[in-house]
């Protein structure tokens, strides 16, 4: 027997409209109903469906505002300039709203990271906003609790932190670049000097931040980098790359060595299919102008365009590949011309490894997880899920009551980026 359709919804996330659409047991086949009888009833239903047109429309209601908000003209869209983050980096967007409800997202033409374009992650934010499976209530050990309860809990904890300087208080966030958040974190640690902040971004690039200038590069070599199709800067990079690819004027040349098919690989003039473990050697070959004929040819082309070429390493390539690429860009004089390497902006956040050590030593008394789902996406040999139970007070703050919420004492529903 099939489980009822609603069984996968927890009591928290089940929503009234979902329950009316999929009532309990609607997916079960009743035993007493034969196939013949089912077809009879279906046929009669279809025949009778036409008679629905024989009634007058049910009365419609108009529900005006109590206080008319400024700027809103009912029936007219209102656009807001906002920002949505991907991997911690904000991209400017324009959000169309109708009577206060977002309906469509486009890139903001005035924002350098979007230039008016949008990608699938921006569009999907709208679906997340209206997702009925978002968490709806504060929970304590899985039971619905109140906002007052969690505020009371944290207020009494704050009394403790005032005396001991926040010892045992730990924050775990995703990668954050928001100036507002960084300021809040700074003020929190100024108030509680013993508190610590850690970041965990499962898909973060291990390398220091850098900015490419594809519009100035005549030869581009990508080692596993999908700079046109993924990452927070891809919209900008795609536009810059296209600007240097004008067939009748100056047309750049793109070499892509990759082991996974990508948009960038599809755009390449020369796509080199390479095993992941060979990429490092390939980078070294380019550096030494040795190796295969192809590697020699590419390094020759790079040297012929010194200062006007660009090497890009993929987000998840090894440190050795990164170093080879960095050295090549430096020696070709590309650094400062087609690529800027930025100093790693350290805002004082530790990494997950340090947090794990602290939990194991019993130093962590309160862990606030602000966004993210480390119980799901932290490396499994960290044993993060098991370690959570060693902390007396765990608070999870996120859009979804996910795996991490199930292993935390408290869960607080987060407001969506479009709701703040």
């Amino acid at each position: 027997m099939n489980p009822p359709l609603t069984s996968h919804l927890s009591p928290l996330t089940s929503h009234l409209s979902l329950l009316t659409e999929f009532p309990e047991g609607a997916g079960d086949w009743p035993n007493e109903l034969s196939r013949r009888r089912f077809l009879q009833i279906t046929g009669a239903s279809i025949a009778l469906a036409g008679t629905g047109a024989c009634t007058r429309n049910p009365p419609e209601h108009i529900v005006p505002y109590v206080k008319q908000p400024e700027e809103i003209i009912p029936g007219k869209p209102l656009f807001f300039a906002s920002a949505l983050t991907l991997g911690g980096y904000a991209r400017g967007v324009l959000v169309e709203t109708h009577e206060g409800r977002p309906t469509k997202i486009e890139g903001n033409p005035d924002h350098p990271a979007s230039l008016g374009a949008s990608d699938l992650f921006m569009q999907a934010e709208l679906l997340t906003l209206y997702d009925p499976e978002r968490s709806h209530a504060v929970t304590n050990n899985g039971q619905i609790s109140t906002w007052e309860a969690i505020v009371g809990e944290l207020t009494s904890a704050a009394q403790e932190w005032k005396t001991n300087g926040g010892a045992g208080l730990r924050l775990l966030t995703r990668h954050e670049t928001s100036p507002t958040f960084l300021d809040q974190a700074r003020r929190l640690r100024a108030k509680y000097p013993a508190a610590r902040w850690h970041e965990w971004e499962p898909l973060a690039a291990p390398a220091p931040p850098r900015i490419y200038h594809f519009e100035k590069a005549e030869v581009v070599v990508s080692l596993g980098a999908d700079f046109l199709g993924s990452g927070p800067m891809s919209l900008r990079y795609a536009r810059d790359f296209a600007a240097a690819r004008r067939p009748n004027r100056s047309m750049n040349r793109l070499y892509v060595a990759e082991s996974t098919p990508s948009l960038t690989g599809a755009m390449a003039d020369h796509r080199i299919v390479i095993r992941p473990d060979q990429l490092e050697q390939f980078a070294r070959d380019l550096q030494s102008s040795g190796g295969s004929d192809l590697a020699k040819l590419i390094s020759g082309d790079l040297r012929a365009h010194a200062g006007k070429s660009l090497l890009v390493a993929g987000e998840f390539e090894s440190a050795a590949t990164y170093n080879a690429v960095r050295q090549l860009n430096d020696s070709l004089g590309n650094t400062g011309a087609t690529v800027d390497y930025l100093a790693s902006a350290n805002h004082g956040a530790g990494d997950l490894r340090e947090l794990i050590d602290d939990i194991q030593s019993g130093a962590v008394k309160t862990l606030s997880i602000l966004g993210g789902n480390p119980a799901y996406d932290a490396p499994v040999d960290f044993g993060f899920t098991q370690l959570l139970s060693k902390i007396p007070r765990t608070v999870h703050f996120d859009l979804y009551a996910d795996e991490t919420a199930q292993h935390c004492v408290w869960h607080i529903p987060e407001a969506h980026e479009l709701e703040t």
Partner: protein, 224 residues
């Protein structure tokens, strides 16, 4: 070999009469049923023309528009800018009714709404089918008056519709807008009298207001 005696008449004599009756009767029944249906669909009982609609608050346009002379746009604020004319917020009612008639039992729902923050719920009087697109602003800005479609609202104690809103009625104007147009400054005037040479006057207005009659009867003008 068969002869007459072996096999009787298949049909009796009166079968001829029945056959004639059927040949004439069936079309008659079809035409009759169609006529009844047609008449019913156009009756005020079905179209709700001239039938007052019950509302939570028995709002009288006669009092507010006819008596006090409040402009339509004081409450229907978005009529010149949007497809939707706008229904006033509770706040709009309370601008006056926090001072006058502030204890009237009739206005209790308005005061409740103001105090609790729950909006008033009005029943729609003019309910177009969802497959039609209608935009108030374009009509008002091109000289189609409020009263042309909504009738003498200044005389309505409750609100009702004066037109059945059938497509035929829309097309009457879309085919010959010059018959109904007014100067755009007069659209909210409830006591406007059309000039004697309305057709010639209307044609001048068409030109003045840049009404492009060519596309007015295209399907996608209203069915988008």
């Amino acid at each position: 070999m068969l002869n007459r005696g072996d096999m009787g008449q298949l049909f009796r004599k009166r079968a001829n009469a029945i056959a004639r009756l059927i040949v004439i009767g069936i079309p008659l029944i079809i035409i009759g049923a169609w006529t009844v249906f047609y008449a019913f669909a156009r009756s005020d009982f079905w179209t709700r023309v001239d039938v007052p609609v019950d509302q939570t608050v028995p709002f009288s346009h006669k009092h507010h528009v006819g008596g006090l002379g409040i402009d339509c746009r004081y409450c229907h604020t978005s009529v010149e800018q949007s497809s939707f004319a706008g229904i006033p917020a509770t706040e709009t009612c309370m601008t006056c009714h926090s001072e006058i008639w502030k204890d009237a039992p009739m206005l209790q729902p308005v005061r409740d709404s103001w105090q609790t923050g729950r909006p008033l719920k009005w029943t729609r009087v003019h309910d177009l089918p969802d497959y039609t697109y209608f935009d108030h602003s374009i009509h008002v800005n091109k000289g189609v008056a409020c009263a042309t479609c909504h009738g003498q609202v200044n005389e309505m104690t409750l609100t009702w519709k004066t037109k059945e809103l059938y497509m035929r009625w829309c097309l009457d104007c879309h085919r010959q807008p010059e018959r109904f147009l007014r100067p755009t400054t007069q659209v909210v005037d409830m006591n406007y009298q059309p000039p004697r040479d309305q057709l010639a006057f209307g044609r001048r207005l068409l030109e003045q207001n840049h009404v492009h009659t060519a596309g007015l009867t295209d399907c996608y003008t209203c069915h988008r």
